[in-house]
Symmetry: C2
Subunit: 123 residues, 2 copies
């Protein structure tokens, strides 16, 4: 991520305007509105360097290709709509999980993924 290019500006802008985690194909589609001929390889390479630069964070859900969101948003969970398949960030979730692992197992972290209907699809 050394030079500033139209492609990279467009890809960053797509993430900023989306406000939710996006997959490479979603980025490609939205990015082509800004840069005609944008290639999928450029999307993947740019995402990789933005993750490396900690400007993006990977969001991985079970059984699906990785999405990415703008980094630095603090602790939150992710919500996937079962109808439109879009993923949203859910802030303000609290809760505790009491873990009783088998003897000898050490739990270092956990991931929580929520599923349901988003506002648009529920309407």
């Amino acid at each position: 991520m050394e030079r500033r290019t139209r492609q990279r500006d467009a890809i960053r802008r797509v993430f900023e305007e989306a406000g939710r985690p996006l997959g490479p194909t979603e980025v490609l589609d939205a990015g082509r509105a800004h840069v005609r001929g944008l290639g999928i390889a450029t999307v993947y390479r740019t995402i990789a360097s933005l993750v490396e630069a900690e400007w993006l964070t990977p969001v991985e859900l079970p059984g699906e290709p990785a999405r990415y969101e703008v980094a630095g948003q603090g602790h939150h969970h992710h919500f996937r709509c079962r109808t439109c398949a879009r993923v949203f960030e859910i802030h303000g979730c609290t809760g505790t999980i009491d873990l009783h692992p088998p003897a000898g197992f050490t739990i270092e972290r956990h991931e929580v993924v929520l599923y349901g209907l988003c506002d648009t699809c529920a309407a």
Copy 2:
């Protein structure tokens, strides 16, 4: 899943003896100890029909190919060892998660995945 074959017996046995979720490659490797020349396509097809028959349940973890476990074990979470990458079933976990989704969002279910060190790798 209409005929009984050496391959299918071997694959079911591999799952029963493993006692933890297995991926197709793990099944292939273990299955070849019982049936020489076992093919990966047969593993995939047999897993698919065992899932269809509800004898197996898919276990999907973020960013990884699906694993499968013997069905009918009630509610439990999954634990992935960061060192050996094996996945274990964790029963007896309790906890609550207070969810405060945005207005209009409906949460129907959630998934929890635990990460850490298994007993063997911690030793």
